[in-house]
Symmetry: C2
Subunit: 313 residues, 2 copies
């Protein structure tokens, strides 16, 4: 979907993605109480309120943003009903023409990664094919190395889908492992800094390799990278080193990064990344300056974000 994503971003002039990461606390009282009165204090009630909340947001933003990114953890927390709400959300978003980036951060050894790749490839059961997850892209974790990633690249090779590999995440502790300076195992002592790279650069190099045969019409690969907006210098550095890596950028807004921090994440054509905001959009109705109802507030916040981002392009 890398070409489709770039074209949608340009058509809408909006390099942003709305993170559909609901929590009970984000749901307006009236919506929460309606679900609880209908289903009792159950996971089913939470699933219902998440779904109504997401649908209202999707209805108000589908024509101005290219994609949504539901974070599966928020749904998994509520067990089977939660997962159902995730699936109905991806299905509804797809039906509205939105691209869906499933933020699932899966990663495992080859035979298991093959099963996880079903998120994208679908499954075949006794000759019948199903796409059960309705995701155009998912995020994946690189810690297990190439044999844990190949099943995903194999799955998307002939599909209009993509993956985003976690390279440098937006959270403060990302430095603990991702910033360690690494040399190949077995290197002699007295290694100079020129040969040492932070782990995130090593991972970006692997990510580029994994996607090297999956380049679309605009020069970007179907294997993208997650790079946090909270690390402006890292983003700029990786943009220069890896022109083929399209970035999925979390950390904007609620996590602290501003549009100005993102200037270096784009290339000279104003391409190369899509920026996520979750709370800043979906919980915008709680801000006095924006106000009720949920969907209109999300639209206002999304348009505000678009304006801020396009200023730095």
């Amino acid at each position: 979907m890398i070409d489709r994503l770039i074209e949608k971003i340009e058509e809408l002039k909006n390099p942003s993605v709305v993170g559909l990461d609901p929590t009970i606390e984000m749901i307006p009282d009236v919506m929460r109480e309606a679900a609880i009165s209908e289903y009792g204090p159950t996971a089913q009630a939470v699933a219902e309120m998440f779904l109504r909340f997401n649908r209202e947001i999707i209805d108000c933003i589908y024509d101005i943003v290219p994609a949504v990114k539901p974070q599966i953890a928020m749904y998994e927390k509520y067990g089977l009903h939660g997962v159902r709400a995730y699936l109905e959300t991806t299905e509804y978003a797809t039906s509205k023409g939105l691209l869906v980036i499933g933020d699932v951060k899966r990663g495992d050894i080859s035979s298991t990664a093959e099963a996880y790749a079903g998120h994208l490839s679908g499954v075949e059961i006794d000759g019948v094919k199903y796409d059960l997850w309705n995701e155009d892209a998912i995020t994946v974790n690189p810690y297990l190395g190439t044999d844990g990633i190949l099943p995903f690249t194999e799955a998307i090779k002939d599909l209009d889908k993509m993956i985003f590999v976690l390279v440098k995440t937006s959270n403060p502790s990302s430095s603990e492992i991702q910033d360690l300076l690494a040399v190949a195992a077995g290197s002699s002592s007295g290694e100079t800094d020129e040969n040492a790279d932070p782990i995130y650069v090593k991972v970006a190099k692997l990510t580029q390799m994994w996607g090297s045969e999956l380049i679309g019409s605009y020069g970007f690969s179907k294997v993208g990278a997650v790079v946090g907006a909270t690390h402006p210098a890292v983003g700029q550095h990786l943009r220069a080193l890896f022109p083929q890596l399209f970035f999925l950028v979390p950390g904007y807004g609620a996590q602290g990064a501003s549009a100005e921090d993102l200037r270096g994440f784009f290339d000279r054509h104003g391409r190369g990344c899509i920026v996520n905001s979750s709370r800043g959009i979906i919980a915008a109705w709680k801000k006095e300056s924006i106000g009720f109802p949920v969907g209109d507030a999300a639209r206002k916040a999304a348009l505000q974000m678009q304006e801020e981002l396009t200023k730095v392009l």
Copy 2:
């Protein structure tokens, strides 16, 4: 559950865990055809065959092994029905007194990891508490660092549950990132090898720190480590360096490691790890030397594995 796990291992004299990782290919024809004829070629049929398969295995091994480890990818592949089969499997295993290690390899930034921690802590909805996943432990991915792990340690602090952090995985490509020699960012050049550690040692140090206040009666922590059986020297090295880390050990059997490879993973009391076998047990009915039916074959293979493991203790 660290004390409970150790006591169950000693009571049954069996440091092994059965990986419940079904695939359609592992299901005997008669069981597969029955489900397809009842539900058609659907995900529901696959969920049903997985459940019947798992129940037959659980019925035949629950009195001789301390734990099962369902791999959620195998179920997620089949969407909502698949996740239901996972949940009914964890529920059934729990009802038979087995400890359940959910092999979910989740990991994300703090607010999201908090939601994933619901796997262990359960959820509270309008004052009512639910344990929706029936897992005594789960596996977690360390790539995001401390703030992605603290929500899990917080969740298990006052519960009889635990987590296993991926330290050194069993797959061939695990070397690509996990074996890189790393020094802290900002170290000067000319660093000697004495200060450089492979990433898996850095992660093991973090894992020890994360669990340092969660030590049970036998000196092991509720924060354990995944260390692949396919790396005997690494296992021995980590055992010596980190006496408080209990190891969950994949890679035995079908992936190539033997009992002899595992000698160094145990401490001098014969404690310190639990060894997983998946295909070797649950698909044992396919081996001519063992034969049909599924449950009896799994029991025979599990007893064989127990005998092999106890020889090296």
